[in-house]
Amino acid sequence: MFERFVNVFQVLVAIAAGATVVLLLTVSPTVAEVESPDTALGSDLFQANCAGCHGAGGEGGIGPALAGGLARFGSTEEVVVFVSTGVPGRMPGFETRLGPDEINAVVEFVWADLAGR
């Protein structure tokens, strides 16, 4: 009985693996996510919340330079998590100070306009 259950489970997982391949080949990014970022909002939020440590142009200061940087991150998603949670003793987390849309806007601004990624 248990062996039969494992056999059926393996078949289902094999189907799931096939479905994953199909999804990889067919799913496109959602339109909402690829719209151009609100760079004006992102710039304003950067100046208000980030420039004090990272410099008005992202050239660095108390915190590291952002202009031409962010090499450690592979996507804006990683930066959003980093900005949201911060690093204890090094950088505050902004999830309690800014809303998700605001964090996304400032990350898009830093990513595209300052870091040139």
């Binding site: 248990f2 062996e3 494992v6 489970f9 393996q10 997982v13 799931a16 693996a17 994953t20 999804l23 990889l24 799913v27 496109s28 990014p29 959602t30 996510e33 090499a71 450690r72 592979g74 996507s75 804006t76 998603e77 990683e78 959003v80 998590v81 980093f82 949670t85 690093v87 204890p88």
Partner: protein, 183 residues
């Protein structure tokens, strides 16, 4: 009983190599979406991935121990129940199933990191390809007959070692860089 034949081993290695290359090619040519995918009850996809990979690693540790027991390399449990092999298969299948949404996000949203100066991401990209290639080879070897007796434990060891390295380059990085538990 027939003598060990290298043919079954070559088939498994060719299949595994093909899978690894296919995964790497997809990750390289696909334009990364840069979006979140599944997160379940976690705050974001990266947290989901970090914890799911940790769960996969725990299942793999059980896989390793149960495999060692079945090969008689460890003494516990002394009397191996009849369902022990099925639990081994179930844990491995579950680990593979849990890895699918993680791999989906890695490939679809982030892609393959070709820049070797980005060592962590570059290594992780290679390890991800190697993992699925080795896994495919291992599953093929399990179901094939005639391969040398050392082949399965060696390929299984590669799967496990690769998974540990994947966990070190992602989940451990996440927990030490972003925070813990970061749910």
């Amino acid at each position: 009983m027939s003598a060990p034949s290298p043919r079954a081993l070559w088939y498994a290695l060719l299949l595994g190599g093909g899978v690894a290359i296919a995964v790497g090619v997809y990750g390289s040519v696909h334009d990364p979406a840069g979006q979140q995918t599944i997160s379940l009850f976690f705050s974001n996809t990266l947290s989901f991935k970090a914890w799911t990979t940790t769960l996969v690693l725990l299942l793999a540790l059980f896989q390793l121990y149960s495999a060692l027991r079945m090969w008689g390399k460890v003494p516990f449990p002394r009397d191996m129940p009849s369902w022990f092999g099925d639990v081994h298969r179930l844990s491995g299948t579950l680990a593979f199933a849990l890895s699918l949404p993680v791999a989906f996000h890695c490939l679809w949203a982030l892609g393959f990191e070709p820049d070797i100066s980005e060592l962590r991401r570059f290594a992780h990209s290679l390890l991800g390809c190697l993992f699925y290639g080795a896994f495919a080879a291992k599953v093929t070897l399990v179901r094939s007959h005639g391969a040398p007796s050392w082949a399965l434990p060696v390929v299984g060891g590669v799967v496990f070692t690769t998974l540990v390295a994947i966990w070190l380059t992602t989940s451990l990085w996440f927990f030490t860089t972003i925070g813990f538990p970061a749910i």
